[in-house]
């Protein structure tokens, strides 16, 4: 019994019944399949998180974001600039308590190099309703290439707890059709 020592002293020598053995083999193979699915997706899949990351001082990241914003601001919403950077360019998005800065306006089916970093605490980049979720850390600049394939108004919700104003940290993101 499971609460007593094995009746057979040499329990390792007991054969495993074919039913159990069959299941173990199936489970093992399934594990390999799942493992190699992840590996395989890196070569054929279009959704893989980039590994390009740099250490960065928050102030210098903010300076880069400000330089970009100065160049490409098209309008203003509730005091936050809306920027429309050219396709293919480096786009900087600051996560800070408790807003995203600046607001981005991107073109559909164009790729952008999106740089993410946080000013003081960890924040969570949660693009809704697409449901892409990426962690943002202070001191780390994460660079990924995104290609919006839908147009419309999206929301960036913070989904990492960042203090009592966390629930107000949401911002729009616009994707427009090519004009």
């Amino acid at each position: 019994m499971a609460v007593t020592p094995p009746a057979n002293r040499l329990w390792w020598n007991e054969p495993i019944h074919i039913v159990e053995l069959g299941w173990i083999v199936i489970a093992f193979i399934w594990g390999l399949v799942m493992f190699f699915t992840m590996v395989y997706w890196h070569s054929i899949g279009e959704q893989n998180l980039a590994n390009e990351t740099y250490k960065v001082v928050p102030q210098s990241f903010a300076a880069k974001a400000e330089a970009m914003t100065e160049k490409y601001t098209v309008r203003d919403e509730v005091g936050i600039p809306v920027v429309r950077p050219p396709p293919g360019s480096d786009v900087y998005l600051i996560a800070r308590i408790w807003s995203w800065w600046p607001i981005l306006e991107l073109e559909k089916d164009q790729s952008y190099r999106l740089h993410l970093s946080a000013m003081e605490y960890s924040h969570g980049f949660s693009l809704q309703p697409v449901n892409i979720n990426i962690q943002i850390q202070p001191g780390y600049e994460h660079v990924l290439t995104i290609t919006p394939n839908q147009s419309g108004k999206f929301g960036i919700v913070c989904n990492e707890f960042c203090g009592f104003g966390h629930h107000t940290m949401v911002s729009p993101l616009y994707v427009v059709d090519r004009s």
């Binding site: 019994m1 499971a2 609460v3 007593t4 020592p5 094995p6 009746a7 057979n8 002293r9 329990w11 390792w12 007991e14 495993i16 019944h17 039913v19 159990e20 299941w23 173990i24 489970a27 399934w30 594990g31 799942m34 493992f35 699915t37 997706w41 279009e46 959704q47 998180l49 990351t53 509730v78 993410l116 003081e120 605490y121 960890s122 969570g124 949660s126 809704q128 449901n131 892409i132 979720n133 990426i134 962690q135 202070p138 780390y140 994460h142 990924l144 290609t147 929301g155 919700v157 913070c158 989904n159 707890f161 203090g163 009592f164 966390h166 629930h167 107000t168 940290m169 949401v170 729009p172």
Partner: protein, 566 residues
């Protein structure tokens, strides 16, 4: 020392029980239940706040309650109870004295003091940093100090477990290898040592940082090491509750492992690989390579999942084999239909087995897939998943086994047996609801740890689909049901322990004798001796496997539809 140890002999099982171990099991189990009650109450208040129509707590209370909820149930309830399980699986099952009862009491006091200190600090309101306390969020120093003291206490308790194993071997209180349940407990203890050591490694510098002696704690480094504690502590749970599944099946039905080798191999895979899954929390983190992520998140090619899948066959398999030997042999499922569903120890364990596998296991593997994590990370899907593993899995199992511990170890009759009969169903249904509806809301993008997803206070706002709000309401209703089940458990246990009738000095009738000398009649040397006839279990695992594969690839399809990114 050995000469002064006092034993009693359990009339039901024939086991020799060290009275010091018995008192320690009682103390740790009672402390566990107290923290379950406190943490559960916080949990209910959180679910009712996230139900937008009710929105119970103000914002600062919400985050405070969320911090306390995590600490009290994920750490205190579970680890106190696990210490009780460790003492049971070593001293009681090995017919041995506990290595060092005085030190074990010191461990207990340290754990109580640490848990209390952290709780009080959280309730003072300056430490609402969540259970994870990610830096640079800063809690009051005593928040970290309490956790460190608790971890040291728990480590000392693990030391006592290992000490008892050594003594049992030296004093030859058992022959051959330790029982399978003890081996499962050993797995839990080994993972606990890594868990608690990691906790100390990260929390001590963080404590010094909050005192001002250290300038900077790197947030990703913190997260990496913290999760070696935060996630592995839940792997202690898995090992401990699987061990309890085997124990309950053995004690209630006289079930034997189908094969000692396969079941121990499964635990061995846990020891080697299970803890790597701490990587599940770092899959969308900047600065860590995909190689590290894929290797660790898959427990080195899913070898620990292999362990779990072995248990998924062998646990119901041992139950089926035992039931068939008792004569429930008709058709595919008579063994299951005529199982002791009125016995809360059995119903709790079986419900937990099914829900842990289907809800917790499958969602965990999917969530822990490197790329799929992109569409789930930090959404309510995550708490949905771990409420399936920790609540319907571990908590329900621990509740179930309490109904055996009460008469067998604590020598008290269950005070309200009818209430005990219903309790696993009420709690299990509520907990399953919590898990499912949170996973549903998470699939729709609703973030976890969020006070107001209507964004009423925000200049911009965002509108989640109405289905998401329905999920949150259903989650609230399920939480009420689960809290009712939790209350039924706490009241019954506390009443039985302190005011219950002392168990009569005769064998309990539900249990099968566990005496080490005699074996139940007409049972082979091991569960699958001769022909292994478990068609019902084969059907169940086939359904499980098909659901697993389908759900896994459905989520790849979801992923393939989101914006390309690389």
């Amino acid at each position: 020392m050995a000469a002064t140890t006092q034993f009693r002999t359990c009339p039901t099982t024939g086991l020799k029980i060290d009275l010091a171990a018995q008192s320690l099991i009682k103390a740790n189990a009672v402390a566990a239940v107290v923290f379950l009650a406190i943490g559960g109450l916080f949990g209910l208040s959180i679910a009712l706040t996230r139900w937008p129509e009710i929105h119970l707590l103000p914002v600062d209370w919400f985050y405070m309650a969320l911090t306390a909820h995590g600490l009290d149930v994920l750490l205190c309830w579970i680890i106190f109870f696990e210490v009780a399980v460790l003492y049971f699986a070593s001293a009681v099952l090995l017919n041995c004295r506990l290595a060092a009862p005085r030190t074990a009491w010191v461990a207990f006091v340290l754990m109580v003091v640490g848990a209390a200190l952290t709780n009080v600090t959280v309730l003072q309101g300056e430490s609402s940093v969540m259970f994870t306390s990610y830096t640079p969020l800063r809690a009051a120093p005593n928040f970290y100090l309490g956790l460190i003291i608790f971890a040291v206490g728990a480590l000392v308790a693990c030391g006592n477990f290992f000490g008892t194993l050594v003594i049992a071997k030296e004093e030859r209180t058992y022959e051959g290898s330790v029982p399978l349940v003890t081996f499962g407990a050993l797995t839990a203890a080994i993972i606990a040592v890594f868990t608690l050591a990691s906790g100390a490694v990260i929390l001590i510098p963080t404590w010094l940082w909050s005192l001002g002696y250290i300038n900077h704690i790197d947030p990703v480094m913190y997260k990496l090491v913290w999760w070696a504690m935060g996630h592995s502590s839940q792997q202690i749970n898995v090992s401990a509750h699987v061990a309890v599944w085997y124990a309950v099946a053995a004690i209630l039905l006289g079930a034997k492992p189908l094969s000692e080798k396969a079941s121990r191999l499964a635990f061995l895979l846990y020891i080697f690989f299970l803890q790597l899954a701490s990587a599940h929390h770092l899959l969308v983190e900047p600065g860590i390579s995909s190689e590290w992520k894929i290797f660790n998140t898959s427990y080195a090619m899913y070898l620990a999942v292999l362990g779990s899948m072995i248990h998924a066959l062998t646990v119901p398999g041992t139950i089926e084999a035992a039931q068939r030997k008792l004569g429930f042999n008709k058709g595919m499922f008579e063994w299951l239909r005529k199982a002791p569903w009125g016995n809360p120890a059995f119903s709790g364990v079986f419900l937990s087995l099914v829900m842990f596998g289907f809800l917790g296991g499958i969602s965990g593997v999917v969530l822990g897939t490197e790329q799929i994590n992109l569409i789930m990370h930090n959404t309510l899907y995550v708490p949905g998943h771990f409420h399936a593993t920790v609540v319907t899995g571990t908590t329900l199992t621990f509740m179930a086994v309490t109904y055996l511990i009460l008469p067998l170890i604590l020598q008290r009759d269950v005070m309200f047996p009818r209430m005990a009969q219903w309790q696993p169903y009420v709690f299990g249904l509520g907990a399953a609801g919590i898990s499912l509806f949170m996973m549903g809301a998470g699939t729709l993008g609703v973030p976890r740890r969020h006070w107001d997803v209507t964004f009423a206070d925000s200049p911009f706002g965002f509108e989640f689909p109405s289905a998401a709000f329905m999920m949150l309401a259903l989650n609230g209703l399920s939480a009420i049901l689960a809290a009712t089940g939790g209350l039924m458990y706490v009241v019954n246990v506390v009443a039985s322990v302190f005011f219950g009738k002392k168990t009569a000095d005769k064998p309990m009738k539900v249990a099968v004798p566990v005496s080490t000398s005699g074996q139940p009649a007409a049972v082979g040397a091991y569960g699958s001796a001769g022909s292994l006839n478990i068609p019902g279990t084969i059907t169940l695992v086939t359904i499980f496997f098909v659901s697993f594969v389908l759900y896994y690839y459905v989520n790849w399809k979801y992923l393939a539809e989101v914006w390309p990114l690389r």
